[in-house]
Subunit: 354 residues, 2 copies
């Protein structure tokens, strides 16, 4: 199978093998990873290693803390402003896609939202770069990669206000100056691991400043104090994250992931640009290295193309229901040979129907 | 290994076998359960079956909806009052143990809490039965089984106000008149499956009545509308829940689970009552069939006893850090032979040291 799913998505084969083994016998304990207490040393070591690897990848010091929390990014749309934005304060948000728009909707429940940039005018097919962030904004929120629309920030926005980023769909695909961020969050089900856990990286100095009472489980500060073991964590999902990060490290870390991402993206966009039947719909300089979104020039052929993909064991190529068209997701674990097989099929299809 | 963990805890061997197989190859798809999209028919069938089995076990009609949500019961301590209790309203709460107390703390952030009954005077070693619930209470909240203290409600409190129950540690261990409840929630990591998902059963008529704006992901109504697929769910944890419920059904359903629970509890408490060295500390009529909490009359022997347990492959017997002493958890998947082995060891220890 060639797995182009947008998330949950492909994971490294050896991660799957180890995860399955741990369901039978975790770390030679004679117990399943599903049956061990979260306060045992057994799991404590998993959580510690997972948190440590994030710090190592991100080159973070003691100013930042790493948490693995229940839920997906959608929970963070709410939890971030709940912790950071007071009722009478204003946060700046970039509206660059469906997920950014959802984050804005939730933030409005907690304070004022200033949408400082929007790409709605062109259906979110580009990233506006020239926008103004008032210096008294509590923070600037943006989505580093727009999974649905296929755009990606290839730089960090220049601003003096604290940066908050949803990195769900491109985290660990490249080195970044992660220490610049006040808050980073990411659902695990793309490059981190399996669905059911959120990675949250927070700069401690931004916490404890809002006046509202925060429910215990929603307060980042409580999770930091408890070493990310405030309540029973999603044990297995954290374990799979740890395994996936071990794999990233072994393969060469974020530098190697970036090299592979670039290879995959260049190879695939090059094909898209040369095959007349297929048409990328995103501004060239903003193309996502994770999710290539495109259409077939003759839309009546889309169904047939998707069927041929399926017959050839290629899945996950249908575009998001809100956008339509086609989408090819190219996360860390996707081997280039999957893209080669797909491009071969696209060439054949192009030659037949262009 | 004999697994007496309080949660995450023992699961049926065949559930573990199937879960591990699905990590390699889910349902003959050639894909891992960790790699499939949550909006595929593949996963849709898992979610549908899981929700259906809950309704079947609980004998619920269309008035109730079944959801599988991110997080554990701690999230529900907050989410329940957020959805049900307005700022100027009062909910009645039973304070029968550490988890009930935590639920009370969270509810106070959303409205008024009337603690109608408390067993704090005797360190939560019993369940008060004679208490008054004002008729204008928005709901009555209680914890059906107190995992930490080892007490359990063996009846449903008689009241005319809507019932809200945290059933995390005894759900699916017995048939109950589940339709009597306005809201039931339970973290999965005891009788339902693996850590990382919450079962929520809600009577639709109680929703949509509070004035506060509810964050999208916290609103039960949104989850109902989306068929429990509002955002990426914790796919694997839902799958393990479904497998565990299939196992319960195959074994004979909640009636059979109750029979086995009774057998286990009678066998173990009988041993406790006859061995002078070990002393149950909970009111006899309120003893939990899930978690037997007890002490050693000579506390200096506790460490030695726990070491002997460990040497004999018996784990999870240390009491909760807030209570101390010893605790033996006897969830659905625990075979009676594990208890027999433990009781043999206890007899030996008793004969040596009593």
């Amino acid at each position: 199978m060639h797995n182009f799913n947008s998330g949950p998505s492909i994971l490294p084969q050896e991660v799957l093998t180890e995860a399955a083994e741990a369901i039978h016998n975790f770390n030679h304990t004679g117990l399943s990873i599903l049956e061990i207490g979260h306060r045992t040393n057994w799991f404590g070591e998993v959580m510690t290693e997972a948190r440590y690897l994030v710090k190592e990848f991100m080159q973070l010091g003691d100013d930042h803390e790493v948490l693995f929390l229940h839920g997906g990014a959608t929970a963070q749309f709410m939890q971030a402003p709940m912790n950071l934005l007071d009722t009478d304060e204003t946060a700046a948000y970039c509206d660059n896609g469906i997920w950014g728009s959802k984050a804005i909707k939730e933030a409005r429940l907690f304070g004022n939202v200033n949408v400082v940039s929007s790409s709605k005018d062109k259906k979110h097919t580009y990233i506006p770069k020239d926008f103004f962030v008032p210096e008294d904004s509590k923070y600037l929120h943006y989505t580093t990669n727009n999974t649905v629309e296929g755009t990606q920030w290839h730089h960090i926005p220049a601003t003096t206000v604290p940066l908050v980023a949803d990195m769900s769909s491109d985290i660990f695909s490249r080195p970044m100056e992660f220490s610049k961020f006040a808050l980073i969050y990411a659902g695990a089900q793309k490059n981190i691991g399996a669905a059911g856990v959120n990675l949250v990286v927070v700069k401690k100095e931004v916490l404890g400043k809002v006046k509202r009472p925060i429910p215990t489980i929603m307060d980042y500060g409580n999770h930091i104090e408890a070493g990310s073991l405030l309540n029973t964590p999603p044990v297995f999902a954290v374990y799979v994250s740890m395994l996936t990060m071990r794999w990233i490290k072994k393969e060469g870390g974020l530098e190697e992931m970036e090299k592979r991402s670039r290879q995959r993206a260049e190879f695939f966009y090059n094909a898209l640009d040369t095959l007349p039947l297929f048409k990328p719909i995103v501004a060239i300089e903003d193309r996502s290295w994770m999710n290539a979104v495109f259409i077939i020039e003759k839309p009546e052929l889309e169904k047939q193309f998707l069927e041929q993909c399926k017959e050839n064991g290629m899945i996950g190529i249908k575009g998001h229901r809100s956008v339509g068209g086609l989408r090819v997701s190219m996360y860390n674990a996707l081997p280039i040979c999957s893209l080669e097989a797909l491009v071969d099929l696209m060439k054949e299809f192009n030659n037949k129907f262009a």
